[in-house]
């Protein structure tokens, strides 16, 4: 068995002033190197809170978090943040620099990276997200998807082991969303990154190796995307959209056709459709 990169043991968290409900309730979770984990669930299910506890932006009320075998404490906090990069929801509010290259360099400046190396790493990171032509542009001249790609470049320039996408695509249009997911997927393949993505977006969750479903501060289901997506109707209650093949299946079922119960990808659906047509 592989050793987990991130270990969460019985994490509980309660926001100040809320005395009845825990935002996180006894969550235990292991994340392994090179994995893509999607965290899904409706609003207020504790997804973002969980992400913030992982890199120490908020300290859990009880329980412990280990990153690479090291417990996240006051003393190890900054080392942990070095290993974990985070991309947030709002593309405007996380853009610190005045231009694209300044923003990418911001994290490197914080770590005291010498300037020569910084220039090379900024250039590299911008090439990876295909934003090298925009290096001296100001954020006001970029689209949402471009700003989000710059945010990713800022994170990968730091060479982290883990990237957490905290609803990083939720404010983007479908095209921007596609671009960002594609960029992440490519970076992940190239550098064996661990990705934790918190999302409502079904396409993003479909890229994951493992999907965790959260409700009321607890992880209630865990499985591969195929296992989770085959639940159909249940997904809507969990604040998620149903993948297109599932929608099609439901519509066919309504019209009296017998459809397979297991989850099918779009290609799988096409295959099934034209073979089932032949059977008649």
């Amino acid at each position: 068995m592989k050793t987990p990169l991130i270990e969460l043991n019985n994490i509980t968290f309660k926001y100040l002033g809320e005395d009845t409900k825990n935002a996180l309730n006894n969550v235990s979770l292991n994340i392994y190197p090179g994995e893509w984990v999607a965290l899904i669930g409706h609003n207020g299910s504790g997804k973002s809170t969980l992400a913030k506890t992982i890199n120490g932006l908020i300290a859990p009320t009880s329980g412990e978090i280990n990153v690479k075998g090291e417990e996240v404490t006051e003393a190890t906090l900054w080392d942990v943040r070095r290993m974990i990069g985070m991309v947030f929801q709002n593309p405007d509010n996380q853009f610190v620099g005045s231009t694209v290259e300044d923003d990418v360099a911001f994290g490197l400046e914080n770590q005291g990276v010498p300037r020569d190396e910084m220039v090379a790493r900024v250039k590299d990171a911008l090439e990876t997200v295909r934003m090298e032509d925009f290096a001296i542009k100001e954020p006001a001249r970029l689209s949402g998807g471009q700003k989000q790609r710059v945010a990713i470049a800022g994170v990968i320039a730091l060479r982290p082991d883990v990237i957490i996408l905290d609803e990083a695509t939720s404010m983007l249009d479908p095209q921007g969303r596609q671009e960002v997911i594609e960029t992440i997927r490519k970076i992940k393949e190239d550098s064996n990154l661990t990705v934790i993505s918190i999302t409502h977006d079904i396409d993003e969750a479909a890229h994951a190796n493992r999907v965790l479903v959260m409700r009321e501060g607890e992880i209630i289901q865990e499985g591969t995307p195929a296992e989770i997506f085959s639940r159909g109707e249940e997904l809507i209650e969990l604040g998620l959209d149903v993948p297109f093949p599932e929608k099609l299946k439901a519509a066919l079922k309504d019209r009296g056709m017998s459809v397979p119960d297991h989850y099918l990808t779009e290609e799988g659906m096409v295959d099934w459709l034209w073979t089932s047509g032949l059977n008649k």
Partner: protein, 265 residues
């Protein structure tokens, strides 16, 4: 509304003035404002005027921008000039009524003040038109650095400045959005008397204020997540280069000062 504002705007270009070190430009502009008070006759003002026009020509920016820069302040200038003209005494008196008088000395003083105002505005407009706000904040940080010894927070000030500058267009967009959203709900901006106008601003100001708080929190979290721990132990991505033309600017200003000292009366 915002497009008319020339002061504080930057026009991209590639002239000698554009390429100067922002530190040189910043110091030179302030120095210029200082030495303009050395002038006290038409020859010295003439020299300053020629110097300013030469600098403007070097920047390859149309004179129109500079004149537009003066326009919003023209009433203030005329008012000051008028006061000078009417209340200064001395020399030959051309006209006198009650406590007002127009004299040779008054007219001369008025003209000097007019030229002084225009030259100061021209020079500061030249600074902002040719220097990106970001370079300016770099220059300010550099110039504030010696103050660190007396515990002056130079890094924090410059970070605040650069974040503020970066968010100006973002907040402008948001202001516009909120204005339109409130207009769609029936708020009338810029209508009615002063009191009504002021009241109409509230539905714009409060949402803007609240969203600034949210932005600040998001930004602080994003900065922390990227390892920001304050100014200690940080390296810098942008570096300023002092080159030959910058030294030439310093020499030019030194020569100008010497010249002024000799031709002032």
């Amino acid at each position: 509304m915002m497009n008319k504002l020339i002061l504080g705007r930057y026009i991209p270009g590639d002239s000698i003035i554009h390429r100067l070190d922002p530190r040189a430009k910043l110091v030179a502009s302030f120095y210029f404002i200082g030495i303009i008070f050395l002038c006290n006759n038409f020859i010295s003002f003439g020299a300053m005027f020629a110097f300013t026009i030469f600098a403007i020509l070097l920047s390859k920016i149309s004179l129109r921008f500079f004149i537009n820069g003066v326009k919003p302040l023209i009433w203030l200038i005329l008012f000051t000039v008028l006061l000078q003209v009417m209340f200064s005494q001395g020399g030959e008196v051309y006209f006198k009524w009650w406590i007002f008088s127009i004299s040779e000395f008054g007219i001369k003083n008025g003209a000097f003040i007019f030229i002084r105002f225009v030259l100061i505005i021209f020079m500061s407009t030249l600074l902002t038109l040719t220097t990106p706000p970001l370079s300016l904040s770099d220059a300010i940080e550099y110039l504030l650095r010696p103050l660190k010894t007396i515990k002056f927070p130079a890094h924090e000030i410059s970070l605040m400045l650069s974040i503020a500058l970066r968010f100006v267009p973002t907040l402008m967009d948001e202001t516009e959005k909120i204005m339109n959203a409130q207009r769609a709900r029936g708020v009338d901006f810029g209508e009615g008397n002063l009191m009504q106008k002021m009241k109409a601003i509230v539905p714009l100001l409060i949402p803007l204020f609240v969203s600034s708080f949210n932005r600040a929190e998001d930004l602080a979290i994003a900065m922390e997540a990227r390892g920001y721990q304050g100014g200690e132990g940080r390296t810098k991505y942008r570096v300023l280069h002092w080159e030959l033309p910058d030294t030439v600017v310093v020499i030019a200003f030194a020569l100008l000062t010497v010249l002024l000292v000799f031709i002032r009366s």
